[in-house]
Every structure is written in C-alpha cells, then in structure tokens.
C-alpha cells in the first residue's frame, strides 16, 4: 500500500472520520463455521448457536427464501482452555442445579426450552478471571438432569480432547422463527456484522419434530465429575418420525434409541456433508458420517456410510419386530470437532431411489416414473416451463412429509427414449442431431449404442448428463465412425485452473463422472455413440441423458463471493467466473437484472477469453442496515444470437488444504452497512479503459470532493493480478493522480479490472479484529474499479514514461 507523501497533506471530507463507525476490514472478514442445531421444524422457534470468527458486532441475520426469520440474542467470546477456578465454578453451578432439580422434580420431567434466553452478566471469580461466558451456562436451574449432564460433557471435556479453533471460537446465539407454511428444504443463513456479511451456512427446514442429542449417549462416557452416568434417568426413546440434531466431537459416537412397530418401512437419512460440504483443514474434506442400526439385542441390522456417490448415508430398513432399536452415528475415521454437525431424520418418509427420465423438453409436459421407499405415487411431474435450460429439482410429498429432492434437466433439444436392444453397431438405435436420449445402463457390463448421420466437417458435441442429475452412472462415452474406429472418447470431464480451483457448474461434485467430448466429423456418413459405465456397473437406477448436438458455444456465470457488503454509495467488489462450454469465446456484457434495487455495476464487460474478472456494484442510497438481493445477468453474442445467462452466487471453498470449488449459494446478497453520514461519491475522471503499454505505467485521476486533513491513509490494489501494481499517488487539484505499472511479463492484449482500495488504521484496540501476527485493525474500502488493457510498447518509448496526460 502507498502512503501519502508527508509533504502533500491531503484533506478529505469528514466522512473519513465516519469511516471509524464502519468496522469493515479486509483482514477481519466475519466468518461462520457452523450452526447448531442446523435447522428446525415448520411452525417452531429454535435457539441456534452459530459459531465463527469476527462476529462480535453481529447486528442481524439474513435467511434466504420466505417464511424464516431470526434475531440475534447474544455474542459470546471464545473459551479456549478453562482454568481450574473456572472449571470448579462450573462444577459447583451444575451441582447446585442438579440438587435443586432432584428436589423439585425427581422424575426429571420438565425442561424449559427458553432456558437460553435468560441472560446475566458474567461475574468475576478473582482478579482478572471471569466466569466463562457460554450459552449453555445460562438458565441452569431450568435444565433437566440429562441436559445438565450434557452441559458437563461439552464444557468439561478432558483437555486432550479439546482442539481450540479460532475460526469457530466465537458464538452467536440466535432465535430462529419458522413459519408454519415455510417451504421445507435447505436455506442459507448469514449474519450481518458491522464489518460486513458472513459467508452463508446451510440450515434445513424440516417437517418432523426435532430433538437435540444429549451427551453422554454412548457407553464410553466422558469422565464424570458431578453427575454419574448411572444416576441419570434413563433416556426416553425417540418418538418417530423425528429429526435428531447432533455434533460429533473427537472420538465421539452418538447413539439414539427409538421404538418402532413391525411392518414400518423406515428411512434414516443423514445430512452432514450437505450442511458443510467442504472443510478446508480436514482430510477427508468433510464430515464423513457413518450410520448403523442395531436391534434390541445389540445386533447390527443395517449399515451405510454413503448413498451411491453422496457421502451422506441413507439407510432403509423394514422393521420385522416391534421393539426398541438403536441408531449409531460417527465419523468414518473417528474424527470430530464442533463443526461436525449433522441432522438425521428417521421415519416413514418418501425417498426416491430412481427416476426416469431424468428430464424433459422445455415447454413440454413431462412425467417421470419414480421408484423408491414409501412413495405416494409412481410418477413425478417435472416442471419444464420457461425458456431457460438448466438443472431443476422436484420432490414428492406424502402426509406432510417431503421426499429427497431429485435433480432433473430441462433442455431445448428434442428428446428420444432409448429402444430396448441396441448394444451392437448393427442394432444401434438411430437418432437425429440434435437429440437428447433418455436411457439407462440397466445391467452390469451393458453398453448402449446410438447411430447418427453426419457430414464432413460438422462439429458435434456429445454431453452426458447423469452424475449431475444424481445418477450413480460413471459414464464412459466413445464416438466411432462407420467402421467402428474410435474417433473420440471421454471418461470424466473436469476443468480446474492452476490453483486447483474447479471451474464447473456443480461445485458440490468431487467426482466429475459425466463424459463430455466434441468431435469434428471426418467425412459424410454414419457415426456411433457408445455409452457404458466405466466401472462396469449398472442397474435400473443408472439413468442418463445423452446429448448429441451440433457443437454450440455457451457459458455459465458465477459471482464470488455470494455475499457483498459496503455502506451506501460505496462499491462492493466481487469476481465473476466464466464457465465456458464448447469453445465459447465472446465478450460478455454484464448488467443488473433487478434494476429497481438501484445498484450501479462497475467494470461490467468481460472480454473474450477471460475466465474470471473483478467487478463491483455500488450499494444504493437508502440501503443502510438492509440486505438486498442482487441479480446479475450476462449477455454474449453467439453466432449472431444474443444469449443471456443468469449469474449465480457461489463461494470459493477449499477442500483438504488443496482443491477449491465454486460452491453454489441460494442467492447473491448485498448488505448495506450502517454509517453515520453518507459516503462521498468518489469516481474516476475517465470511465474508458486505461491503456498501458507492456512494461510501462499509465495514469488516471481519482476525483474526490472537498477535502479535510487525512493522515496514514494507504491506497492499494485489492488482490491485484500478477504483474499489476499501484506505483505512485500524487495529489492534484481534482483529487489524486494514480500511476499504475504493468510488468514486462504481462501479455499484450490482457484486460483486467483493478479494484482500488483505501485503508487507514482504526482507532482503539480491537483484538477481535486482529488476526494473529497481523497488523493492527484497519478500515479498508474499495473506491474504484479501473479497467486496464495492456498494449504493445511503442519502440520509441522507454519503460515507465507512458502517461495518459492529465
């Protein structure tokens, strides 16, 4: 960052003082690691603990969709390791509460769901030592004995089992209010702090009654301190249907007893990875849940550690005898941490195991046949209305219960269903181009072959849609000429950049099993497309949709991050990722779709060939304290047609220290941050692209309004691409002249949007905003987006003399 030269004292508006009230700082980005419990039932209120970092100034909660709201109750700082005095205090309080409970309610029947809500100020134990501040320590007198045992287990774990994690150390207690008519399914939850919006974390709205696990619930309990495990009332069996919420800590195994009747067809569905798909610092990079079912004699009767390629296990079991059963859950390699959060639903809910076809033609009624467990019908109507192709979801409902969501495709090309026998070249089924073939690899080792007619020079794209539609098929596709010679083939197709960022439309998939290939036909005649499962598997659920179409360029867009924050009038930068298909290479013009929101888009052109570029939106006036939805679209010209695609929100998530994925979010949200006074309008003197010769510098002026004294302000480029640097800043009458240098190594023709930011130290000593080893807390704000194009250096011009001339 460049500091202003002392001899040039620049005076800015008093707004810079007001920046003090805006606690947003590049190094102190608020973060959520998990929410527990990760959801609730329709028509209920749930106290949820959200854990993360830099959440001290939490102000409001934003939840995607309709019918679910939340309010902030309290923030709790991290508890690292308890000192002896603090542990003794906790033990004494639990003992008092247990004694009172035994006296008042020996049967331990009642418990107060609002126990969280009673707040009291932490008292001092001794000079410099406070009682630990944790939501579980409030309202102890209202807790049942089993709850007290749970609190003891959680807070007084043996030291060797405690893994302090700064990124999930702070807690925010929120109250979730779910309308009775709230749509069941996943939602994104975010917290707005004074510093900005957090990342989204998934919660689920369910239809079953809910239960929270209470430790100890395994025979291997933690060492007792106050409440002896044998003295606790026997835990009651769960009443079905139920959704249990739990957390797996190191070496933890959770067990739940429930009563079931003979003949019941139970589905036991665990959500773990679907809540937190990627952990940056764990291998495997997610909570790999394992579930097992035991009968009353302790015999294992069912086991699952995944469901096809989905790491979240699903069990199905038909109860033979009425009685008690026990469900066990743990991590596959017995890891655990507070963010190993799960929800497991047990009941006779509908669960779809196969569907066919896996999609339909846009605008055409499509009913898919379905099979599974506890289904109310054998068909499912697929919504293929509209004109935008893509992947959609459908569910079945039964008695208020909702099935698993099935993904399907709505597409424009004509649909064809596979014929019965077509597994040789001679019996290959003829299809025209374009076609989408709905087929199945019905048995292990089977192959399906299709024939089409082509002309020399035609470019044909063959695209498999199976894994992306939740099919277990791991396709292998070959294209052959009339003689049966393979002219193109593909097994798996994935795109990732040098930094291992997977650039695809499904950031949740780790095995990109769908085949995608493109062939240029060498001559007129017949061609064949063969589909098999590369692992030799098959079955009635191995459905697919095979696209055989003329190669047509297309693209998808992702906005990252999916949550943006800035005060009204200030710009919020983001990255747009372009996911090209079939050789897409055209300029894309971005624009705001929901123009009523008042957003201004800066840097909105993506030149052909770029796979990502920085942009920004200016937060509209009047947005202070609000969260707004942002809808962006991009339009490109492909073969004389204008194609428009929506830009979906995504967040760049790391898996296991190495791979990164663009994980889709439900929406793009912009939070307007509070400020005491409006931010001044700062803009560039020129909106045209700044052309800078390779190895030289270019200059432009940043116009600022009337100025006041400013000290210690630093300017810099926010996350600049390699080879671009802010070289110098000098005051000029209109504001500030910026000199931007382009390195010799940057290729001619390169186009970038550079985000200019300003920062200054924030007064006070806010440790919560200071990462370990980092500089003291600073304000920073993005103020401009500078489009730059690198040009060829003129032979007569030596390095660093180029100037736009102000």
């Amino acid at each position: 960052m460049k500091a202003l030269d002392r001899q040039y004292i620049i005076k800015f508006l008093a707004i810079w003082v007001n920046v003090a009230s805006v606690a947003f700082c590049a190094e102190a980005q608020p973060y959520i690691g998990y929410a527990y419990p990760a959801g609730g039932r329709q028509g209920t209120e749930v106290f949820v603990t959200v854990a993360g970092q830099f959440l001290r100034t939490s102000r409001q909660v934003h939840i995607s969709g309709q019918g679910v709201h939340a309010t902030i109750i309290e923030h709790y700082p991290p508890i690292v390791n308890l000192q002896k005095e603090q542990r003794d205090w906790i033990i004494d309080r639990i003992k008092e509460a247990a004694d009172l409970r035994r006296h008042q309610d020996p049967a331990d029947k009642t418990t107060d769901p609002n126990a969280f809500a009673s707040k009291k100020k932490p008292e001092k134990l001794s000079a410099g030592m406070r009682v630990p501040d944790h939501p579980l320590l409030y309202g102890l007198e209202k807790r049942s004995l089993r709850e007290l045992a749970h609190i003891q287990s959680v807070l007084l774990r043996p030291r060797q089992k405690i893994q302090p994690n700064r990124q999930i150390g702070e807690l925010v207690l929120i109250k979730l209010m779910i309308d009775p008519g709230a749509q069941p399914g996943p939602r994104d939850l975010r917290i707005v702090t004074a510093a900005g919006l957090t990342n989204p974390i998934a919660i689920q709205i369910g239809t079953f009654s809910e239960s929270l696990e209470l430790e100890p619930n395994d025979t291997e309990a933690y060492p007792d301190q106050v409440l002896k495990f044998s003295e606790l009332p026997k835990e009651k069996s769960l009443q079905l249907p139920v959704t249990v919420n739990g957390q797996i800590l190191p070496r933890d195994v959770d067990r739940f007893r429930f009563h079931a009747q003979a003949g019941e067809k139970l589905v036991i569905q665990t959500s773990a990875r679907s809540l937190i798909p990627y952990l940056a610092d764990a291998v495997p990079g997610w909570f790999q849940a394992v579930a097992a079912l035991y009968d009353a004699a302790g015999k294992e009767i069912a086991f699952a550690d995944d469901y096809h390629f989905d790491p979240d296990p699903v069990l199905y079991y038909e109860i033979a005898r009425t009685g008690d059963y026990e469900l066990m859950i743990h991590d596959a390699v017995y890891r655990g941490l507070e963010d190993f959060v799960y929800r497991v639903s047990i009941g006779q809910m509908p669960f779809i195991t196969e569907m066919f076809p896996l999609g339909g033609k846009l605008g055409q009624n499509t009913n898919a046949s379905v099979k599974g467990w506890n289904l109310p019908a054998d068909s499912l109507s697929l919504d293929t209305s509209g004109q935008i192709p893509g992947i959609r979801k459908a569910v079945l409902q039964k008695d208020g219960m909702v099935s698993n969501a099935m993904q399907y495709e709505a597409a424009a090309s004509p649909q064809v269903t596979e014929a019965d026998t077509h597994n040789t070249l001679q019996t290959a089924q003829s299809v025209s181009v374009p076609s989408i073939v709905d087929g199945k690899i019905s048995a292990a080792g089977q192959s399906d072959i299709y024939r089409f007619q082509g002309k020399k020079g035609e470019a044909i794209a063959v695209t498999m849609m199976a894994r992306r539609l939740s099919s277990p098929l791991d396709s292998l596709v070959r294209v052959m000429d009339a003689a049966g010679m393979v002219i193109g083939w593909n097994d798996d197709h994935s795109v990732k950049d040098k930094q291992f960022l997977f650039q695809d439309t499904d950031g949740l998939l780790t095995h990109h099993a769908d085949s995608i290939l493109s062939v240029d036909l060498p001559c007129d005649g017949s061609y064949f497309v063969e589909v098999t499962d590369s692992q030799g598997h098959g079955g009635s659920d191995f459905a697919y949709r095979l696209h055989i179409e003329p190669r047509t360029a297309d693209f998808a867009l992702r906005i990252c991050p999916s949550g943006l924050s800035a005060p009204p009038g200030v710009i919020a930068p983001f990255t747009v990722h372009v996911l090209p298909e079939n050789g897409f290479n055209a300029d894309i013009e971005m624009h705001v779709k929901n123009t009523a929101g008042g957003f201004e888009l800066l840097g909105g052109v993506i030149p052909a060939g770029k796979d990502s570029i920085r942009m920004a939106v200016r937060v509209p006036a009047g947005a202070s304290g609000k969260t707004l939805s942002l809808e962006l679209e991009g339009t490109a010209k492909i073969k004389d047609r204008l194609i428009t695609r929506q830009a979906f929100g995504a967040d760049d998530k790391m898996q296991a220290f190495l791979y990164r994925h663009l994980v889709p979010s439900q929406e793009v949200v912009v939070a307007g941050l509070d400020t005491a006074r409006p931010f001044p309008h700062i803009e560039l003197s020129e909106t045209e692209t700044l052309e800078i010769a390779q190895g030289s510098s270019g200059q432009l002026v940043l116009k600022t309004p009337a100025r006041l004294f400013l000290k210690e302000a630093s300017f810099g480029l926010q996350e600049p691409p390699e080879g671009f640097a802010l070289r110098d800043i000098t005051p000029v009458p209109q504001g500030l002249r910026l000199s931007i240098k382009v390195d010799q190594k940057v290729e001619v023709g390169r186009v970038e949007n550079l985000v200019l930011e300003v920062s200054k130290p924030r007064p006070g000593n806010n440790k919560a905003a200071k990462p370990a080893g980092g500089a003291g807390p600073r304000f920073s704000a993005a103020v401009a987006v500078i489009p730059v194009r690198v040009t060829k250096p003129s032979p007569a011009v030596t390095c660093d003399t180029a100037s736009t001339g102000i």
Partner: protein
C-alpha cells in the same frame, strides 16, 4: 482415467527382476565407476540431511522479503545481517547468522508440486513420479557407500533419526536391503531408546540372561551342528547382539557427551538428533537423515515459527560449528530442505488466520560442507518470493551435485542393461558448480 495414457516399455517381469537383483546384489558394480573422470573432486564421505518435514516457509527462514509488505512478511519483517555482507536471514536465526560463511543458500529451488507426498518424493529422489519408484538419496548412498563397498560400521549405513517418513524416502526398486534404519525413541530422553538396540528398563545383564535362555532352548541347533543355514542364522544373531550390547549401544548413548555440548545443541529432540548425527558420521555412517517434523503450518504459522525457529537455529548452528571444530565439515555434506516452501502471501482469512499453505513453485535449500562452499547464495526469487527470478534449481540438480561431491557419478547406470541413471540431468540442467569446491 486420463485420455491417452502413455505406456512405458518395461514389463512388470523386468521391474520385478530388477528388484530381486537389487536385494541380492548391486545392480551395478560401483567399482566400474572408479577410474571414471568426474568433473570435480570427491570430497565428501557422509551426508547429514535435515529434513524439514511439512515444508518450511522460505520467507521466514533463509529468503526474507521485508519489502514485500505486511501481507507477505507478516510480523517477521526485520531480517538480520549475517557474517557475510549482503546476506540476510530471518531474525529468529541469530546463531546461524554468525555462521553464514559455512553454508550456502539456494533461493530458487522449484518443482511446482504442492502435495506433500509427491513433493517429498521429488525432493528426496530427484525423479518425477512414474511407473518406477526410485530410491531416495539415502538409499543411493547406502548402495554406493554401504556394505558391499566395504562399509564395516556397527550400525547400518543409512540411519533415520528418529521417525520413518515412509515410502517416499526409502529404497524404491533397490529393495529392502537399502531401506533406512529408523532409531525410534527420543535422543532428548535418557536413555535414548533406539529400536532393537536400547530398551528402556532392561539392563545389559538381563539382555544376556535372555540370550542364554534362548540358547538353551535351541535343541534343533544343537542336534545339527555345522548346518550352513543355522550357521548363517547364528551369525546374524551375533551381529544383532553386537549392536545391542556392543559398540552400537555405546554409540547411541548420549549421556557420554558433555553437558555443555548437549546444551549447545539444545535439550530437545531436534538438537539432540543433530548431536547424534555428528556422532554417527564420526563413526563413519555415510548417510543420516534427521526427520524434523511440524513445519506444515497452515494455521498458527507465526506462533510456530517463534517457537521452533530458535530450536532449529540452535541445533543446526551447533552441528555446523561442532563438525567444523572436529575437522569433519570438509568431509560431511549437510543438506537442509523440506518438500516445498510455503505460500508467500499470508492467508489471513478463516480458517487459516495468518497461516501459509504449500508452495512448490519457489522455496529454498541450504547446503554446507563436504565440498560445498560457504557464504554464497545461489539463484534469486522475485521480490515476493513467488517465483525463481534467477537460476531456477530443480531437486535433481541439487542431488546430482551432492552425488558428485560423494564421488558418485550422476550419470552412472543404476540398473544393468537398462537406461536408468543415478541422477540424470536434462539438457539445460547443470550441477551447482558455483558453490562446489574445484579439484
């Protein structure tokens, strides 16, 4: 499955044959190398490898970048001068700073891989992963300087202090005869419980009593005196007991060292391992690896640096000085490196909170002794430590240079009749002659 996988020309039978040949006898007769003209004089007799397991940050050790800004240097932004003008290293390495005349820093190491296992394989073997598993440097030295070449030490010629790293640092296709002997135990504890040699709580008298009891049960051996197989077995057993009860036990007994020496190295596992390494090379062991783990600092990076760099500084500096004082530095190569460096740009965001990730594009290594010059810097990284700016050095170049100093021809054949060389260099790759003593 990748499109168009290349298929090598070797069959599995051929590869198996190589492995069997290596386990039974040398694949090549290194004696063939004697008499070959090597470009530089072979000075070194031994190597001590300090393996910084996990990947140490190059910016926070031997390639500081104080001008790169807070996001790159973090709190360690005041590097210190060394006793060589123009060379600065991290402020947490003051003892090493005074000994810069004894070592050279390579600041432009590169291989581009960010995965622990692959990167460790690249740096330890000098080869890219492929169908064959190549031997690590230690196994190579064990082949060329070990028993079949006249080594008569009481302990194996390739020793690891103290924990094995596993298959990425072992014998590869040479076979188990060239695997390292891992001591286990902790040299900072008393006794240093070396696997199979020193057992805590079991006296020598008890060991001898056990041996006697075992002998009294050997009815079959007594019934067949003179049997060649039993004679061989007895010989192996005798050698093992000699290790346990004889010189090897004394060799690993660090209590015979003066307290002042042990204090100088540092009373911790690493420091005492460095002292143990000195004792081993003194006794003629040709290759010692000190596996120094804990450098994979994705989180709590600067806290770890503040805690561990002083420990590393003390042990490494004491080793250099001690070897030099005893006249052993000229004949002992010391090689310090990890599998890669760490991301120059600090990861302030959650969950790293000021950590550094893996970085194989640019990192550093340090070499000393055995024919390497001191007080030099090879190559240069760019202003932020992101890329080699001058003289990029690949792992095989470094290992080929070490081989040369040991008198092992990098271009010697490693397998009879096959085109496998010890440490081949590609067309534009060369030895690090600028830091190698001339003939």
């Amino acid at each position: 499955m990748k499109n168009g996988d290349a298929i090598t020309s070797m069959t599995r039978r051929q590869i198996l044959k190589m492995g069997l040949a290596a386990s039974g006898m040398a694949l090549i007769d290194p004696a063939r190398l004697r008499g070959q003209e090597l470009p530089l004089k072979a000075r070194a007799k031994a190597v001590i490898q300090i393996w910084m397991w996990g990947g140490p940050s190059h910016l926070d050790t031997f390639d500081p970048k104080p001008d790169a800004g807070q996001d790159y240097c973090g709190p360690l932004k005041n590097p210190i001068s060394t006793n060589i003008d123009g060379i600065r290293i991290c402020e947490l390495l003051p003892r090493l700073a005074k000994l810069a005349d004894k070592y050279s820093i390579i600041r432009s190491m590169t291989h581009g891989n960010n995965a622990h296992e692959t990167a460790a394989y690249l740096v330890q073997t000098g080869h890219e992963p492929g169908r064959l598993v190549y031997p690590s440097m230690g196994a190579l030295v064990s082949l060329f300087k070990g028993y079949k070449q006249g080594y008569k030490g009481t302990v194996p010629p390739y020793i690891v202090l103290t924990r094995a790293q596993g298959r990425f640092s072992e014998a590869g296709f040479l076979g188990p005869a060239y695997k390292p002997f891992c001591t286990g135990g902790d040299p900072a504890k008393n006794p240093f419980a070396v696997e199979g040699i020193v057992a805590e709580g079991i006296s020598e008298q008890r060991q001898l009593a056990r041996r006697e009891l075992l002998g009294s049960l050997d009815a079959l051996g007594r019934a067949m005196p003179g049997n060649a197989h039993f004679a061989k077995f007895d010989q192996c057993q005798q050698e093992a007991y000699e290790m346990m009860l004889g010189q090897a036990k004394q060799l690993f007994d660090l209590s015979t060292e003066q307290d002042s020496v042990r204090d100088l190295y540092g009373r911790n596992s690493f420091g005492q391992s460095c002292l143990m390494a000195r004792r081993l090379v003194e006794r003629g062991v040709p290759y010692v690896t000190i596996n120094y783990s804990g450098w994979d600092t994705h989180k709590q990076h600067f806290e770890t640096m503040r805690r561990r760099l002083p420990e590393m500084d003390a042990g490494f500096a004491a080793l250099l000085q001690d070897l030099s004082d005893r006249g052993l530095l000229d004949s002992t190569v010391i090689w310090w490196s990890g599998e890669f460096g760490r991301t120059p740009r600090i990861q302030w965001e959650s969950p790293w909170n000021g950590g550094r990730g893996h970085y194989g594009k640019c990192f550093c290594a340090v070499v000393a002794g055995g024919g390497f010059k001191g007080g030099r810097v090879v190559g240069r990284s760019d202003e932020k430590g992101l890329e080699p700016a001058e003289r990029p050095v690949k792992p095989n170049q470094l290992l080929a240079s070490i081989c040369t100093l040991l008198g092992i021809d990098p271009n010697a054949a490693l397998s009879a009749g096959k085109d496998l060389k010890v440490m081949p260099l590609a067309e534009k790759e060369d030895l690090l002659t600028e830091i190698m003593q001339p003939r």
